[in-house]
Amino acid sequence: MATLNIVNKSPFEKRTLEQCLSRIAEGDSVLLIEDASVVAVTGTAYAELLSGCAQKLYVLSPDLAARGLTDKELLGTMTAVDYPGFVELVTEHERVHSWL
């Protein structure tokens, strides 16, 4: 039943992340990639929202590293995955919804 939702826009620029979170089920997952990865760490204005999420949250670590954010602490609710981990997530879910 579960859907892997992929978000690639920073919530500081586009509302995609919040729009996604308002429409998914508890058992679904969200993977933050590209510019969305900037809110995977503590100290941002979205930390509270993402810490209170019932869904499993993932961030693509190469995107985090590319933005120089690996020196920050990941949110407690966030799991970092590498590219093979990304592939594994896709196979573990029944469908993928890439939010453009």
Partner: protein, 127 residues
């Protein structure tokens, strides 16, 4: 064309439209993809959320900005057996729109029930 694909794999496709028409090419590209999915006899549904609900607004007159009025094509979807058009009520209300503003018959869904629709699909294509 129909005969060629008879007996082929039929999947449930949900096209998710989230952008207003005309400002970008997303809405038109989505519509073309919907028609292709339907021409290949797939089980096609379309969901309009966020600014995507503007795609179904009546009375669009994009000729003045030299854009094709593809909103008319939504009325042809029924003939392509795309009969399931879903619109999120909250997205309509936020934009001051109601079902009467739309150019086709749709099924309204609530924001909280969108995931139930998604759960029934094999493939999600977001535009």
């Amino acid at each position: 064309m129909e005969d060629e694909y008879e007996g082929g794999v039929v999947k449930k496709f949900l096209y998710v439209n989230r952008r207003a028409p005309h400002g970008t090419v997303y809405a038109l590209e989505s519509l073309e993809t919907v028609l292709i999915g339907a021409a290949f006899d797939q089980d096609v549904s379309v969901l309009f959320i966020d600014d995507g609900v503007f795609q179904l607004k009546k009375q669009q007159q994009p000729e003045g900005i030299e854009v094709k009025n593809f909103s008319k094509t939504f009325r042809a979807l029924e003939m392509y057996d795309v009969e399931q058009l879903f619109v999120e009520s909250e997205s309509l209300a936020e934009r001051g729109l109601s079902e009467d503003d739309l150019l086709v018959d749709v099924e309204l869904v609530s924001r909280a029930s969108v995931h139930e629709l998604v759960d029934q699909q094999d493939v999600i294509l977001s535009f």
